[in-house]
């Protein structure tokens, strides 16, 4: 009986944790993709090969992004505590951990989107220009339109690394699968938790990647 009970307990704990991971990863992905899209567009436009080359703007934005990207995530977690408190009212909890996850993901996704956008075949942009397209039309109908599959690939990479980071976010009370693996599996020597959590994470990551590959094929 006690064996069954403890297994049921583990299932519940892990189920809740899995939901928390999903919640954190989902919202930080959505928010960072939306917010990160804008600096990516500015970078693409102002890049030396862009539609409106502007070195000071490009270099400054690029520098800021690099600064944010060079913060180790654990440090970012701590530094952002006051900011998180201001935004969601508290610094601890699943919702609160979305803030540092998003902040760390924005510069990453900005860079990934910039790369995706700038990989657009220059000849196609030229062709659009030759038909009298405006810059806005080129941006939306050529750059963005042609880059969607590459941007999707970037999002998949982001989701997978956010799954990893969300484990760290557990340290500020975020919960999630990684948190359970550390607290139960590692600190309390419950190997079955560690193994189950790891297997779930492996399946989760695989599933995300497979879904990503499928969608990439569908839309490209």
């Amino acid at each position: 009986m006690s064996g069954i009970l403890s297994t049921t307990g583990m299932n519940e704990v892990i189920f809740t944790a899995f939901n928390q991971t999903l919640y954190m990863v989902f919202w930080s992905t959505v928010l960072s993709v939306i917010i990160g899209f804008f600096p990516a567009i500015v970078l693409t436009l102002t890049a030396p090969d862009g539609l409106k080359p502007n070195k000071p703007v490009y270099e400054t934005l690029s520098f800021i992004i690099n600064v944010f990207r060079s913060f180790p995530f654990v440090i970012l977690l701590v530094i952002l505590i006051p900011f998180t408190r201001m935004l969601v009212g508290k610094a601890i909890g699943t919702t609160a951990s979305i803030v540092p996850l998003t902040v760390s993901a924005i510069p990453y996704i900005a860079r990934v989107f910039e790369t995706a956008l700038r990989e657009t075949n220059h000849g196609v942009i030229e062709a659009a220009k030759s038909f009298g397209a405006s810059n806005l039309q080129i941006l939306l109908r050529v750059y963005v339109k042609e880059s969607v599959p590459r941007m999707l690939n970037g999002i998949i990479l982001l989701v997978i690394s956010l799954i990893g980071y969300s484990a760290m976010a557990g340290t500020v009370g975020g919960g999630g699968i990684g948190d359970i693996a550390i607290r139960y599996g590692y600190q309390q020597y419950k190997t079955e938790y560690l193994i189950t959590c790891s297997i779930i994470l492996i399946i989760f990551v695989q599933a995300v990647q497979m879904l990503g590959n499928f969608m990439y094929k569908k839309i490209s």
């Binding site: 075949n121 000849g123 196609v124 030229e126 062709a127 659009a128 220009k129 030759s130 038909f131 009298g132 397209a133 405006s134 039309q137 109908r141 050529v142 339109k145 042609e146 969607v148 599959p149 839309i219 490209s220």
Partner: protein, 323 residues
Amino acid sequence: MIQIKHVKKKFNNIEVLKDISLNIDDGEIFGIIGQSGAGKSTLLRCINGLESYDSGTILVDDQEVNIRDKKNLRNLQKRMGMIFQSFNLLERLDVYQNVALPLKFWNIKTNTKETQKKIMNLIRLVGLEDKLHAKPRELSGGQKQRVAIARALVLDPEFLLCDEATSALDPEITKEILALLQRINKELGITIIVVTHQMEVVKQICQKVAFLSDGRMLAAGSPEHLFVWPKETEIRNFLREESDKLPTSGVNIKLFFFGEGNHKPIVTQMARELGKDFNICWAKLEDFREDVYGSLVLNFDEKDLEDVCSFLDKNNVTWEVIE
């Protein structure tokens, strides 16, 4: 009519266009030929404002191509369709959507019966009605260029600019694309400007041609007069003819046959009449659109030169001594 007057352009202090002047008449197929780096693509890009020029003027009818006058430039660009060496189709759009794209840039509704019919007619014109919903990656090079041609025609241009449009295609496909361009020129009355480094393109379709070398226009005129008997060393080098394979002893004389001269048995006549021996070292027949032009290099002993020359002059054969 497009008038190019004293156009100059520099890229980082290197002059890429050195005082170019030429006129392109309505309804012509005009070739701009030269080696890579001669400035011919730059010149073409100046014509439709993809590139600016430093001085001189380019006039399309009475409108000046001025990259700073955005609104006017857009309207000019609408009148000039363009196709490229690398086709430049949007990978994520199918054939139909690619052809329709320029209409979207002009906010022309693509879902009306009339527009749909127009797009379909163009796709039929280029012979791709069975590939309507194929993506560019499913098409061959020649098919991609056909899509690009249909796309370039969708805004009803008066001019079609072709930037090395056949350079990435094999000879057979090149011929097909050139035939299509010729048809477009004849049936739709569109003036076509072809930039190329391929002689066969000029020979097959161009009524007039300008030869560019190192940013300078060396000659312009009908291709047969420019290329059958070129005087400029640059053009000769470009044609890479009668190279170093010719004998070094004796005299080499090159004979030219324009149209009429083709039918006279000049060479055998000369041999019989003069009783001289000579070698035929090199010969070439060239098609310029419908006509055939030939050239022939003969090698003589130095002492026979005078007799041979007077015989050729008597028979109205164009000739020259190759140094």
